[in-house]
């Protein structure tokens, strides 16, 4: 995980606290602020607990209905899994439900940042399951089944390992546990089929022995699922459980596989691949590969969710979300009249580096452009999503629309004049509905009012009808989606398609007579085919229309909705729901997404091929002339569909919620190992962390002794102990604690201490920290420490060195502003910038031995010259001014290269480093041991001084004849470096160059070599 951005916020907080204790011995005040982005608690959830027979369900009141649906599913699945795994769980399983993905991102149960697309997770230390709903309750229930399979798998695995006294690291590979969880959470869905069809069609199917290479990818999940299906079909489902039960036999899972399946792993792998190919080859035979049949509009990197804007002068641009290995942005690609790309795309909206455009929902939310040239898109902005309206002609944002009750917003669609915005949104209870916002009136109107997942709305050109996709048909109970039309005036809803399929992303044709949409349908065996582009001709037939279940406007049941739909039709509205004709335009190997009309003759779509999303153009005229298939809508001549509901656990069943009460339990117990930047000793000890179930409250206890028997002092004398508590459950993270620190100390920051002979120091004190995030990228950190102590040792004053005891009662206050929007690669930051500005004041309130101000300004900027080459520039200024002002330190692999670690010092200094980072070998020899190899050219320079800027004096502690380190000189180095990623886990750095001790005079250069580990700055 990269340095600070990837470093979990919690860990950083904990480390900051521990280091603050250590640094309290010599507080350099503003020098120790960490970088990193912020996990912010926007909502301040009022947590409650429902206790069912086998689960403790954690929820907040707004999401109670959701929690009850989740609890019912969990209990149902418990019965299935208990039987399947032949086991019962000894204790209730904690399940934490969040209403939306945005709320889920705030969880403190995992310290890491959660990206879009994570459906939930199982945390095995405390056995916690954490799942968001995000509007799609069918998927929510499937994720519950998936995560509970993990719970049972790990329970059984733990028992097997304990029974056979096998080390804990002898476990199951991720691809197997995730594959099993997918396999036992339900039949393969259309996305599973898409991934496997693509893997076979593009010949990128990963064999068994190589599955670790794709660990964590979507493909790994789906291949894992396919493997479990293969085992079940070929050898028997019992063998899946045996793979868990027999894991104790060998450290190599391949050997366990061979034992359980009775064949060597190569044979198993070959049979599996043959099984999958035999299954999928007939299905993709004759299908079109998108790259061979559709012209690309945007083919580099990730490109999806296209829309087309026609300028007043008739020229056109295709806008889409794009990511080219960097931040995601909205790009505009100019195209000619034949929809061929002209020149390079331009970035219209640069996302993911500012609070307004914190994150796009790249896979979930479509773009739209009005006829008047207004672009609508959604970003996460703080604790909720907002709709941005952006005038493309004027190249400026004209509005940000956010709504108090709505947390997540998807797929805004605009009227021609951009005064009406319709979108899908999820409220704080986790329910997805359609909303209409009138910019003219400034009012928000909820168009649908039920538990169904209403998504992908598209407003007709006249603004009277919204086409959308929903699971509100009777097929929705089994996870299927159909198309619907909603009459804006009456709220009546009519079904446009009907059947066990996935009809998604409808878009009106320019004349309003057709809808283009993506659809995945089941074959005769019930298996989903590719997701293709379809056209619904709505004028082919007159209704009777079929009203959808759950229509709520006008108020009443389905019968009223049906009446409304009929009225809509009878009134001659352009929508003619009913028995229209559906034409399948494409027959792709894998999938097409989000078709949109460029004009009446062209469709622009995103396609999935070779595990990449690209934007392509289709010739609608020729495809309509020779469609792959023509079918009816399937909407039966019935007046109303039966509504369906998700099973739930009601309070009538005696299951009632109670307020959450914090109970602490052991979170992490580890051997402590500490070293400080100012002391040349290390010490081992114990670190314990306790936390509540939600991870909002943490207590850290650290203890070790810095003395050894050889030091002549007792272990108790050298006892270091600290207790700190930090609360992460609110926006402002507040921590406090107490410490007792003692031990020998080589203090390079002490202007009057000797660095080569340690003093003995002890200090007792308290500390407090507050970290307030301003946004995902910025925060303010406040830190106060007060410590009383003494230091015994040799001190140098007025040119004399003598034994002395220095007593202090130091109060230190620091405030820091931190910004970090840097984008990280495998070796360190590659784009963006991060910086710190800090000021601190330290004073000895009892003995007046110290009193100084510390200032720091630290800015690091990263320019991405090409996708793989980065220029990094770092500027740093530090000043400690006052009585006994502490010295600042430079040197080592990260800062002033060519100079020993932390030995260039002065009460003031400036420093700059510039580095050109470039790739050498993406897959070097010894791969994956060496996961990557990069190079660097660097130039470092610094000037350190304590008195006058140019008062050059020899540093008495670190100089010798061969290496005269002088304070008051400009030092520097340049050279080349090699960076090797070891197992993708950490980076070895090797630098070779020349250093200059006093100005960059070529004749005084000294060669140096330096080997260290750590990410680039």
């Amino acid at each position: 995980m990269p340095d600070s951005a990837g470093a979990p916020r919690l860990v950083r907080c904990a480390l900051a606290l521990v280091l603050a204790c250590a640094a309290a011995l010599a507080p350099t005040a503003a020098g120790a602020q960490a970088f990193g982005r912020n996990k912010i608690q926007y909502a301040g959830f009022d947590w409650h607990v429902l206790q069912t027979e086998h689960f403790e369900v954690y929820y907040y009141p707004e999401a109670e209905a959701l929690a009850r649906i989740g609890a019912a599913e969990a209990e149902t699945q418990y019965a299935v899994l208990s039987s399947r795994f032949a086991t019962s769980l000894g204790e209730r399983v904690p399940i934490v439900f969040y209403a939306t993905n945005l709320h889920f991102k705030e969880t403190n149960i995992t310290p890491g940042f959660i990206p879009d697309g994570v459906g939930g997770f199982f945390e095995f230390l405390k056995g916690r399951v954490v799942i968001p709903a995000d509007g799609n309750l069918g998927r929510f229930r499937r994720v519950i089944r998936h995560e509970l399979t993990h719970v049972f798998t790990f329970n059984r695995l733990a028992r097997v390992l304990r029974d056979h006294r096998t080390p804990g690291e002898q476990g199951l590979p991720l691809w197997f546990t995730e594959g099993l969880a997918e396999y036992w959470s339900g039949p393969p869905d259309h996305q599973h089929e898409m991934i496997l069809r693509d893997a076979i069609a593009s010949n990128s199917f990963v064999p068994l022995h190589d599955l670790d290479r794709i660990a964590g990818t979507f493909t790994m999940y789906k291949e894992g699922e396919a493997f479990c299906r293969f085992v079940s079909t070929t050898y028997g489902e019992e063998r899946l459980l045996e793979l868990i039960d027999e894991v104790w036999r060998d450290t190599q899972f391949n050997d366990v596989l061979a034992y359980v399946l009775g064949e060597d792993v190569d044979t198993v792998s070959d049979r599996w691949e043959a099984f999958v190919r035999a299954e999928y080859a007939p299905r993709i035979a004759g299908a079109d590969v998108p790259s061979l049949t559709a012209e690309p509009v945007a083919g580099r990197g990730f490109s999806a969710k296209p829309v087309v804007w026609t300028r007043p002068d008739g020229s056109r641009e295709v806008l889409f979300y794009g990511n080219r290995g960097s931040y995601s942005s909205v790009y505009a690609q100019p195209v000619d009249p034949a929809m061929r790309p002209v020149g390079e795309p331009r970035a219209v909206i640069r996302g993911e580096r500012s609070a307004d455009y914190e994150a796009f929902h790249l896979f979930e939310s479509r773009l739209d452009v009005s006829a008047s040239g207004v672009l609508a898109f959604v970003t996460k902005r703080g604790g909720a999503d907002v709709v941005h309206l952006y005038d493309l002609a004027a190249d400026r944002r004209i509005a940000i629309l956010g709504f108090d009750r709505l947390v997540a917003i998807y797929s805004p669609t605009l009227s021609d004049d951009a005064q009406t915005v319709v979108f899908s949104a999820i409220n704080s209870g986790g329910i997805a509905d359609l909303y209409l916002y009138s910019r003219t009136a400034g009012t928000l109107r909820q168009l649908t009012h039920d538990d169904y997942d209403d998504r992908d709305p598209d407003l007709s050109a006249d603004g009277r009808t919204v086409a959308f996709s929903s699971d509100r048909s009777s097929w929705g109970a089994s996870g299927h989606y159909n198309l619907f039309a909603l009459d804006v005036a009456s709220g009546g809803i009519a079904a446009l398609t009907d059947g066990p399929q996935m009809d998604l992303s409808p878009r009106w044709s320019p004349d309003g007579r057709r809808l283009a949409f993506a659809s995945a349908r089941r074959d005769s065996a019930g298996v989903f085919g590719a997701q293709d582009v379809w056209i619904a001709d709505l004028m082919d037939a007159r209704p009777p229309a079929r009203a959808a279940a759950g229509a709520t406007r006008p108020a009443g049941g389905p019968a009223e909705a049906a009446d409304a739909a009929r009225e809509m039709v009878a009134a001659g509205a352009p929508v003619q729901p009913g028995r229209g004709t559906l034409r399948q335009l494409t027959r792709f190997t894998s999938a097409a997404f989000d078709p949109v009309w460029a004009d009446s003759s062209h469709l622009v779509v995103a396609t999935f091929e070779d595990y990449r999303f690209t934007v392509r153009v289709l010739d609608a005229d020729s495809l309509l002339a020779a469609p792959e298939s023509v079918v009816g809508t399937g909407v039966p001549d019935v007046s109303a569909a039966e509504p369906w509901h998700h099973p739930t656990i009601t309070s009538a069943a005696g299951v009632r919620g109670a307020p959450y009460r914090r109970r602490y339990s052991l979170d992490v117990a580890a051997g402590g190992f500490t070293t400080t930047s100012t002391a040349s000793y290390t010490a081992g000890g114990a670190t314990l962390a306790f936390s509540d179930l939600l991870g909002n409250d943490r207590i850290f206890v650290t203890a070790y002794s810095a003395n050894t028997s050889a030091s002549g002092r007792s272990l108790l004398d050298g006892l270091n102990v600290s207790v700190t508590r930090i609360h992460l459950g609110r926006r402002a993270h507040v921590g406090y604690g107490a410490f007792r620190l003692a031990g020998p100390r080589y203090d390079r920051t002490d202007p009057q201490g000797t660095s080569r002979i340690p003093s003995f120091e002890q200090q007792v004190g308290v500390l407090g920290v507050v970290s307030y995030p301003l946004s995902f990228f910025r925060r303010i950190d406040l830190e106060t420490t007060f410590g009383v102590g003494s230091r015994e040792g040799l001190r140098r004053e007025f040119g004399q060195t003598e034994f002395d005891t220095l007593r202090t009662a130091l109060l230190s206050n620091t405030v820091a502003f931190v910004h970090d929007n840097a984008l990280y690669g495998g070796f360190g930051p590659v784009e963006g910038w991060r910086g710190t500005a800090a000021v601190g004041y330290t004073t000895d309130v009892a003995f007046s031995n110290e009193s100084y101000v510390a200032l720091t300004a630290d800015v690091r900027r990263y320019w991405r010259i090409t996708p793989s080459v980065t220029l990094a520039s770092w500027g740093l200024v530090r000043m400690n001014v006052g009585r006994r002002a502490r010295l600042n330190l430079l040197g080592g692999s990260w800062s002033l290269r060519g100079f020993p670690l932390l030995r260039v010092r002065g009460s003031k200094l400036w420093f700059t480093s510039n580095e050109l980072r470039f790739p050498l070998l993406p897959r070097p020899p010894l791969f994956p041991l060496i996961a990557g190899l990069r190079g660097a050219l660097f130039v470092d320079a610094a000037h350190n001084w304590t008195d006058g800027y140019s008062d050059a004096t020899l540093d008495p502690d670190f100089s010798d004849e061969a290496f005269p380190l002088r304070i008051g000189t400009t030092k520097g180095s340049f050279g080349v470096g090699l960076r090797a990623s070891i197992l993708g886990a950490f980076v070895l750095r090797y630098d070779v160059g020349y250093r200059f001790l006093d100005g960059f005079q070529w004749g005084e250069r000294q060669g140096f070599r330096q080997l260290f580990f750590g990410y680039d700055f």
Binding site: A79, V80, S82, S83, R84, F85, A86, T87, S88, G90, R159, R162, D163, H164, R165, G236, E238, W248, R249, A258, Y259, G262
Partner: protein
């Protein structure tokens, strides 16, 4: 070339440590083999509980007069005194013991199967404390995880890879090998059936009755689903439980299928080894149900549902059937009606078959405990 002193010292230390870690069993007299006796009537009280320092496989403890012998996943066979629970001795064979053990008719030799390790079977002299013989597995496919039975002086042992092996009980010499169904594996413990035959069931659903003396197949039957639980013989019937929710009754003499009961329509629930008598067969299911069936017709007589999964074979004794559950309960049910008459909690989940020794109910539970229950004097059963 001389071996350096340091290497020799290290080797000597290793040997000492290895020897110190090896246990053995040496008794004053042979054990006396016993047929299972009647279980105590409920209510029961705990007589003793012993930590044997190792977890258990699915098979029950081996019963002898005054003693029980349990195999552990820690690689030991442990002899306990039934009266006190005291550990008499432990034989370390170095590989996990998952399946059934056997005792020679004279009680002097203990046959222990290992699921992993160099020695798939060890014949140990209980009085002389010596290893009489051992049979080495030739690879993982010859793992003896299902256990063994002793019949006609032959140790009959289904191997993981599908073969069944007959070893001379006196010498360990291989007497015969019997092939199984192609691609099948053996997971179920063998069962002695009337006529002196041994029933072997595999995970393709094939049941074979073998002559232990020659390995000849006397009859073959198909039960249509994988068999992981040991078949159970009662009277003239052999009850075969499958992992797909069915229980089949075979004619033990001919292998003819008498009836098949589909107890779980979803096919997900596994069925335990049946506890059976001449009148009924009682099985547990992993969905928590305990089902009693008419032994003659396969008709369901009653069903009782536990709050946890049932994976251990129930024990039918007199008017009571005892059931161990995965939510740490021992429950007594009326054999005739399925009414619950008794329940008590044990230390851990019960995955091993229950048995009776010295008039006591012997329960093996997680994590590594053997518990003996006595009838509670003077207490009436709960209605």
């Amino acid at each position: 070339m001389r071996t350096p002193d340091s290497v020799r010292c290290a080797l000597a230390a290793y040997v000492l440590v290895a020897l110190a870690g090896c246990g053995t069993i040496k008794l004053d007299a042979p054990l006396v083999p016993l047929a299972p006796a009647a279980a105590p009537a409920p209510p029961l009280v705990r007589a003793w509980e012993t930590d044997v320092d190792g977890a258990f496989g699915p098979s029950p403890a081996l019963v002898a007069a005054g003693h029980v012998v349990v195999g552990t996943r820690n690689g030991e066979a442990v002899v306990l005194d039934v009266a006190t629970g005291r550990r008499i001795g432990g034989l370390d064979i170095g590989g996990s013991v998952e399946g059934m053990l056997a005792l020679s008719p004279d009680g002097a030799t203990l046959f222990v199967p290992a699921a992993r390790g160099r020695h798939a079977v060890v014949a140990h002299g209980l009085v002389d404390g010596q290893r009489h013989w051992r049979w080495r597995a030739d690879g993982p496919a010859e793992s003896a995880e299902a256990g063994l039975v002793l019949a006609a002086g032959v140790v009959v042992m289904p191997l993981h890879g599908g073969l069944t092996l007959g070893l001379d009980a006196a010498t360990g010499a291989e007497r015969w090998r019997a092939a199984g169904t192609a691609g099948a594996q053996n997971h179920a413990a063998p069962a002695l059936i009337p006529g002196g035959l041994v029933a072997i069931a595999d995970d393709r659903g094939t049941v074979r009755a073998l002559d232990p003396a020659t390995g000849a197949v006397r009859w073959t039957a198909e039960v249509g689903a994988p068999v992981y639980a040991a078949p159970a013989a009662a009277g003239s019937r052999l009850f075969v439980s499958t992992t797909r929710g069915t229980l089949a009754a075979l004619d033990a003499a001919t292998g003819g299928l008498l009836w098949t009961a589909r107890l779980d329509a979803s096919g997900v629930a596994r069925v335990t080894t049946a506890g059976a008598d001449a009148v009924r067969a009682i099985v547990g299911l992993t969905d928590g149900r305990v089902v009693a069936l008419d032994a003659a017709t396969g008709a369901v007589v009653w069903t009782w549902t536990a709050t946890g999964a049932v994976v251990a074979a129930p024990l039918v004794s007199g008017a009571t059937v005892y059931v161990g559950t995965m939510d740490r309960l021992i429950v007594g049910l009326d054999v005739a009606t399925g009414a619950e008459t008794f329940r008590t909690e044990v230390r851990g989940r019960v995955k091993s078959a229950l048995t009776v020794a010295g008039g006591r109910l012997i329960v093996l539970s997680e994590p590594r405990h053997v518990t003996a229950f006595d009838a509670a004097p003077g207490l009436a059963a709960r209605p």
